[in-house]
């Protein structure tokens, strides 16, 4: 899960990395207290998980209290529904560096990256002049060693004091990445101020979802595209909503992706991506409830389960239909362990079970387009 900037900066500060004086507020009324802490001029930064805050006008510099109040009100009133605003000391930035720690699945190492071309264009730098970004692989077994730091910092050509500070911050950031189960810990820009201080002007930290049992973070609604996706996440059901009209209930990520592809190939448009396989195979009711919240004109159910037994899934679907009484047609291709019993159950509730995925997809596409049932 992606953390908010202010959470990321709290982690950086805990790790000993310099961050600007800051105060988090949730209404313009708290501005005076914040300004008393950070001084003027200050920067007002909307706390949102999505990128492009600057371009959307959600990061503003304010020179006076009145100016700050006006701008804070405007940010809180923005359509993005900003709930928290980070009020920060304005830095006198001389240059912008880049620093991050991530991982490489192939070598199974950490990768520490640094560049003197930090700032908003780092992705363009990565694409057009990758040689401007130094990449140092680090063994997770031994950790970041002095030679790693020399390999990382020397090519940047920084003057001595700055190099020392960046080196120390790289070490601290690696420690944070490891300790917090981060998949990404990024400082962009890592600012060098006019007085020569090296300080984290932004923070992007992504924590591994599988490690949340040992990390103190909880998912928030804003991580999800909409309320239904959040609701599905609470149920532990992978779910994404789209603007098509074929409601998907599939089991297994790979099979769901395949059905998604086939729908596109046959000229249809999925209303959602829903996977109720694996540990979720007894959740047909919740899955159908979610699917009915999309724009579906037809429900397409495709499974090929092994532990997720076909008869259990068919039973669950029969119960879901009884409880929810969907008015839209349902097409099924439920195969796998005990598939004959599954077909029997489905015929018992008046469905015509299919055994072939492509046939089922074609039928669902035709039904969504208003074809005969």
């Amino acid at each position: 899960m992606k953390l908010y900037e202010y959470q990321g900066k709290e982690l950086l500060a805990q790790a000993g990395i310099p961050t600007p004086a800051a105060k988090l507020i949730s209404s313009p009324d708290e501005l005076d207290v914040a300004i008393a802490v950070v001084g003027l001029p200050c920067v007002l930064k909307a706390q949102l998980l999505s990128g492009g805050r600057g371009k959307a006008g959600l990061i503003q510099v304010a020179d006076t209290k009145d100016d700050a109040r006006r701008k804070a009100k405007r940010i809180f009133a923005a359509p993005q529904k900003v709930k928290k605003l980070l009020v920060e000391q304005k830095l006198e930035i001389a240059r912008e560096l880049y620093l991050c720690v991530t991982l490489d699945p192939v070598s199974s190492t950490a990768i520490v990256m640094a560049s003197t071309r930090g700032g908003v264009d780092i992705e363009e730098v990565a694409a057009k002049s990758p040689e401007k970004i130094v990449r140092e692989p680090v063994s997770v077994a031994h950790g970041l060693m002095p030679f790693n730091l020399r390999n990382l910092i020397a090519p940047l050509g920084l003057e001595k004091e700055t190099a020392k500070a960046v080196s120390r911050i790289a070490e601290q950031l690696y420690g944070l990445w490891r300790k917090q189960d981060a998949v990404l810990a990024e400082i962009n820009p890592l600012a060098v101020t006019k007085s020569g201080q090296v300080i984290a002007a932004d923070a992007k930290v992504v924590i591994d979802d599988h490690a949340l049992f040992r990390q103190p973070f909880e998912h928030v609604a804003e991580e999800y595209g909409n309320a239904v996706e959040f609701e599905a996440a609470q149920e532990g059901i992978p779910y994404l909503q789209f603007d098509g009209d074929i409601g998907l209930m599939c089991a297994g990520a790979g099979l769901t992706n395949t059905v998604f592809d086939l729908i596109h190939d046959y000229g249809g448009r999925p209303a959602n991506f829903l996977e109720f396989g694996g540990p979720n195979y007894r959740k047909a009711l919740q899955a159908m409830q979610l699917t009915l919240k999309s724009n579906a004109k037809v429900i397409l159910i495709v499974t090929f389960g092994t532990i997720a037994r076909a008869d259990v899934m068919a039973e669950g679907i029969a119960e879901a239909i009884k409880a929810l009484k969907p008015t839209i047609p349902i097409v099924t291709a439920i195969r796998g362990t005990n598939e004959e019993a599954a077909a029997e159950i489905l015929r018992g509730i008046g469905l015509e079970p299919l055994m072939d995925t492509e046939e089922a997809v074609k039928k669902a596409v035709a039904l969504a387009k208003g074809g005969a049932q």
């Binding site: 199974s108 599988h210 790979g254 099979l255 992706n257 195969r335």
Partner: protein, 293 residues
């Protein structure tokens, strides 16, 4: 013949007394797998499906002469269990657990590479040589999927493997060994690391690769083919052509980021390297018929 596991492999089961562990031990034995020992700390002296249980992998391995281990332990204990197996000298390890923290997975893969172990998974059904033996959770009794034959299968997925392999079987082919490398971002073993075993196996004529969007495992296979490190015919099916970028589509490993890892990119790389890529599961049998005629 086969790769990784056959009817002579002496298998140890970690977490054997749990409900999953005992259930699948019964079925591994049912297929003919030689399961020689089980481990659950604190349960030494028990017997599960006729298999003796020990407190530690070291003692179980020494007593039973096991040479491979399959783990039915919760994801948060997977790292400890894999390290225990490697410490006891086991070098073939299958991890079924879904949801292993990625930092644990990095540690597992790094350690495995350091000691020469092959770890398969997590988030996988495991490895099966139909008609002989398995380590993992396969309903081997579904014979329209798990029929012995001469095509090696590598996959990241569970249900999709059934879907696609059933098409292969329907075309008259069978499977030498099926290896599920798992759906995680950092699998213990990657497709390109399994490939040399299929290349060497005289009973494998061709390989079916079942891939999906995200990561770079399929591109690495294409590289191995282009460099002639793998020279047998390879057919592939890649899911996720229609997936929008930036969304996690089910598997943790299935995400397109910064324009990399798209299904189309993988299809192009494999095709350029000489693989045949099926657009739909129903085309798989035809492709293998052409390649193996």
């Amino acid at each position: 013949m086969s790769i990784f596991i056959d009817r002579t492999t002496r298998v140890l089961v970690q977490g054997i007394t749990g409900s999953e562990g005992s259930f699948w031990t019964k079925h591994m034995l049912g297929l003919g797998t030689v399961v020689v020992a089980g481990v659950t700390p604190g349960k030494e002296g028990q017997v599960v499906e006729g298999v003796p249980v020990y407190d530690s992998v070291r003692k179980a391995a020494q007593t039973s002469g096991a040479d491979a281990s399959v783990l039915f332990v919760p994801p948060r204990f997977a790292k400890d269990a894999v390290f225990e197996a490697m410490d006891a000298g086991l070098r073939k390890i299958v991890v079924v657990a879904e949801g292993i923290p990625v930092h644990d997975a990095l540690d597992i893969r790094f350690a495995a590479r350091s000691c020469g172990a092959m770890v398969i998974g997590g988030n996988t059904s495991g490895v099966i040589t139909p008609g002989q033996a398995m380590m993992g959770i396969f309903p081997y009794w579904i014979d329209r999927v798990y029929k012995p034959g001469r095509v090696g299968v590598m996959t990241r997925s569970g249900s999709l493997t059934n879907e696609v392999t059933a098409m292969l079987i329907r075309g008259g082919f069978g499977v030498s060994t099926l290896v599920g490398v798992g759906g995680d971002q950092v699998p213990g073993s990657r497709f390109a690391e399994v490939l040399p075993l299929f290349e060497k196996d005289p009973e494998t004529d061709a390989v079916l690769l079942i891939g999906e969007l995200g990561g770079s495992m399929e591109e690495e296979v294409a590289e191995a083919m282009a460099e002639r490190r793998f020279a047998k015919p390879l057919g592939a099916f890649i899911a996720g052509r229609a997936a929008p970028p930036g969304k996690t589509m089910g598997h943790a490993g299935a995400i397109i980021s910064a324009g990399k890892g798209s299904a189309q990119g993988k299809i192009d790389a494999l095709s350029r390297a000489g693989a045949r890529v099926a657009e739909r599961p129903s085309q798989v049998a035809g492709i293998f018929r052409e390649m193996l005629k």
